[in-house]
């Protein structure tokens, strides 16, 4: 089913097409599948199914193929009249906002009236299969086609534009390109469930009034900026919750500071705290050193500050341990660095001190960025 019309496509071309299909289904965009032979509905559906997150409620309606009816996790909506089936669908969609699993609707060979009701009432989360449907018919129905993907024996019509950045999908498909279908299914589902759970966790943190910063999420969830963007976007598509405004951005001058350290060959990790809040975090190479360790060291030195052995502020601490060296600076902010393998730690210390002094001289971040209040 993945073959497209017009000869055998290259691997890159296939990934490009597949990424658009995956993104469409993952983002709950609307899709219409048209096949000249309706007996192929089931096999096309099976191909698409691995891209639909398994945690969604899969509701099927219309002239559902017999084999599809018996698939695990599929709930067939039949019985009752059309308005009551639509009311049930709308109820399932509105329950998403209160935490019910998101819904994915799949309609097979729907009657014109059923299809009209589906696309007029539901702005996302549905796929419709039709025999021999053309782009013109769809557009006459008031559904402009954003993109047509030609398949052997039919077409996929994407009604909504896929996300501008398809790199999360492309990376996932490249990772799974040499896997068996079962392993590919597992890996895609695992990533989708992981992102859904990450969104739930972020939501819970925000509801609990915990300060949530991008660096904190990046470190805790072990994701890069684009991964976090995808998680938040999916939450918006699935639960209609926009959490962006609750997450504090890394101030631009801290991003600059962290970027300026990327040329340090021995530096594995840098973390910056404003009081106890992680406001900057960068991993320059693969390593495991949770930033809370830096806070733990700082707390011990804070306690020393209340005793006869108070080192005074600002302070610097260096721990040399095997091939690792930890540097911690307590100035206006708390800075922690993990160095690996090198013998040039003292020159690093001098270079980073210059940068810290420059950073601490800078005024607070621009409007909308987290304020740099300092720990004084």
């Amino acid at each position: 089913m993945t073959s497209v019309r017009g000869g055998v496509p290259s691997q890159d071309r296939l990934i490009f097409i597949e990424a658009r299909v995956l993104a469409t289904l993952w983002d709950r965009n609307r899709m219409v599948c048209s096949l000249s032979d309706p007996s192929l509905f089931h096999s096309l559906f099976c191909w698409l199914r691995i891209y639909i997150p398994r945690y969604r409620q899969l509701l099927v309606l219309g002239d559902v193929p017999k084999e599809t009816r018996h698939l695990k996790g599929v709930r067939v909506l039949d019985g009752g009249d059309l308005p009551s089936r639509m009311a049930a669908l709308e109820q399932a969609f509105s329950d998403e906002e209160t935490g019910a699993p998101p819904v994915q609707v799949v309609g097979f060979g729907l009657e014109a009236e059923s299809f009209r009701m589906l696309h007029r009432r539901l702005d996302r989360g549905w796929i419709a299969f039709f025999p021999g449907l053309t782009k013109k018919t769809l557009e006459d129905e008031g559904l402009p086609v954003h993109e047509e993907i030609a398949l052997e024996g039919g077409s996929l019509f994407l009604l909504d534009p896929p996300p501008a950045d398809l790199s999360p999908e492309e990376e996932l498909l490249l990772e799974t390109a040499s896997c068996s279908p079962a392993m590919k299914d597992f890996m895609i589902q695992m990533r989708q469930i992981q992102m859904n759970l990450a969104f739930q966790a972020i939501h819970t943190e925000i509801e609990a009034d915990r300060p949530v910063t991008r660096p904190y999420l990046s470190e805790t969830l072990r994701i890069k900026e684009k991964g976090l963007k995808k998680i938040l976007h999916l939450g918006q598509r699935e639960q209609r919750l926009n959490l962006e405004s609750y997450i504090k951005d890394t101030p631009p001058q801290i991003i600059e500071f962290l970027k300026s350290l990327s040329r340090e060959s021995d530096l594995a990790l840098a973390a910056l705290f404003d009081r106890e809040e992680l406001i900057g975090y960068a991993r320059y190479r693969e390593c495991f050193f949770p930033s809370r360790n830096i806070l733990n060291f700082k707390r011990i030195l804070d306690r020393m500050g209340n005793s006869a052995c108070d080192p005074g502020r600002p302070w610097f601490m260096e721990i040399r341990a095997g091939d690792k060296t930890v540097h911690i600076y307590q100035g206006r902010f708390l800075y922690g660095f993990l160095l690996e393998g090198g013998a040039k730690n003292s020159s690093f210390r001098n270079r980073v001190r210059e940068r810290i002094l420059a950073l601490e001289r800078k005024p607070s971040g621009r409007r909308g960025a987290v304020g740099l209040t300092g720990s004084e």
Partner: protein, 120 residues
């Protein structure tokens, strides 16, 4: 052994300290300046240092060799000596010269070497 540990005396300044103790906090030697500050120094410094070394262990760092704290008021240098121990050698003070303190501590550590036995 006391001769060896005499190799590192604190600087002649108020609040200077040098000493050696076990990883469990048992003191082998302690020199304070002025001497009457010894108990106060030991009571505040040793638990904090042991907490720091335990935190380094929990952070899954390899066994540390050296910890340096440089504050605006005091500097503290700690060296971990494995032979028969581990033992922790410390030197601290307001105007501690880290390079020469490190030399002194290393010489003391070498001199003590494997001959240093944990007290019963």
């Amino acid at each position: 052994m006391s001769n060896t540990l005499d190799l590192f005396q604190p600087d002649e300044e108020a609040g200077g300290a040098s000493g050696a103790f076990t990883a469990e906090g048992q003191i082998l030697t302690w020199n304070a300046s002025p001497p009457e500050k010894a108990v106060e120094q030991q009571e505040s410094l040793i638990p904090a240092i042991l907490e720091l070394t335990e935190s380094a262990r929990l952070a899954e760092l390899p066994a540390f060799e050296q910890i340096l704290i440089e504050g605006s008021d005091k500097k503290i240098l700690l060296l971990r000596v494995q032979g028969g121990g581990p033992f922790l050698f410390l030197m601290g003070g307001k105007s501690l010269d880290v390079v020469s303190a490190l030399e002194k501590l290393k010489r003391a550590a070498e001199a003590v070497g494997a001959g240093l036995k944990e007290p019963k």
